[in-house]
Homo-oligomer: 225 residues x 2
């Protein structure tokens, strides 16, 4: 079985992706502590990795908080939108956008992959429900896959970045989670909420999206049980 | 004048690039502390930024040391070659190769650029003398430029990664340094040596390359004076 580095935030999407990857690869889960508002999601990631019986690596990347510019790392209002930079505020972009986050995550996944002899990287980014984040689009993932491959010795690659949820709605993701062994139970540990509330605050944009997904799919959220 | 983020390691190449950039852009120098063997180069970077009278940002990225896999960050023998991963050792790659370093550096530069409203990034990577590092090649830089642009809101870009030294020999870089006002004096502060020796140890691969460059160009190294 080939190895895969799976980016695991501890949320619904990455948990589902880890289950997807577990059926195909020998998985190593990687979580990144970038100074997000709460560490509850890192604790969730740890439980989920244990549930799937995979190695779990947690790396610290203080640079995102240090650069700042997002409500997820600088403590500003998450309900607002558009203000992730002092001098630039393109209309409509949520304040939860962390510039460079997925680029940095994938670059680190690439470095870990080389170290561990993996050629596969799995991430739960999704273009459909992408909330306006440019670094969740397929076109970005393809560019980054190319950059990772070219950054590394040719003998180590080519690297493939898998995005099983890319074209799915949240409801489809829920149905996929239901179909893969072990994922439903793992979802009970997952935390999607921007406030870090176990079971969800129910009102933040991430919770709203999650609630709608489970409702559309016609299932109760195992994390709310 | 448009803004540029200049990656400044404190070595010869990035110092020359900062001088090049200073003639074209309003520059912000960014240095990255990734757990390299010595902090002497970060102190050099600070002096060089001061010399050019530019803002200097230092960010910590412990993740490279944590992942390990290079003699520059894990304390192994710099003279050896080929062993940057436990399970993979493509022949001939120096142990000083840090997998993902330039990718991470450029991703961070991109995030800083968005925060500060810059669309230009300058780096001293060089394909000619690239020592076998895949992430110093033009083809990688182009892929990364594309990835940065796609990772960010379109209103913030497109981003341009400038590599003024890409096709130069070290001797040509020395002549370029001589021709740009202020660079020669700044080079007196620069440290290229892998051992962090001010003036150079004279024997490590980085010193050997630097010495040959100055000799070929027919000038004395201002850092050795």
């Amino acid at each position: 079985m080939e190895k895969a580095i799976v980016l695991l935030s501890g949320g619904q999407d990455s948990t589902t992706c880890l289950g997807w990857a577990k059926e195909r690869f020998e998985c190593i889960a990687v979580s990144l502590n970038y100074g997000q508002r709460h560490v509850a999601e890192l604790e969730a990631a740890s439980k989920i990795a244990k549930h799937f019986d995979v190695i779990h690596i947690v790396e610290n990347i203080p640079v995102l908080k240090s650069i700042g510019g997002s409500a997820l790392v600088d403590g500003s209002d998450l309900a607002g939108s558009g203000g992730y930079g002092d001098s630039q505020a393109p209309g409509g972009l949520p304040t939860s956008f962390v510039p460079g986050r997925n680029m940095l995550f994938l670059a680190i996944a690439g470095a870990v992959a080389v170290k561990l002899g993996a050629k596969h990287i799995v991430t739960g980014v999704c273009q459909t429900d992408y909330s306006g984040y440019p670094d969740c689009r397929e076109v970005f993932i393809e560019a980054m896959q190319q950059a990772i491959t070219l950054a590394m010795p040719s003998e180590c690659g080519p690297f493939q970045v898998h995005t099983p949820l890319m074209r799915m709605t949240k409801a489809e993701t829920v149905r996929m989670a239901k179909a893969i062994p072990g994922v439903w139970e793992a979802l009970a540990h997952s935390i999607t909420c921007y406030q870090g509330v176990k079971g969800g605050c129910g009102t933040c944009p991430a919770c709203t999206l999650r609630i709608k997904g489970f409702a559309d799919a016609g299932f109760a959220d195992p994390a709310s049980a």
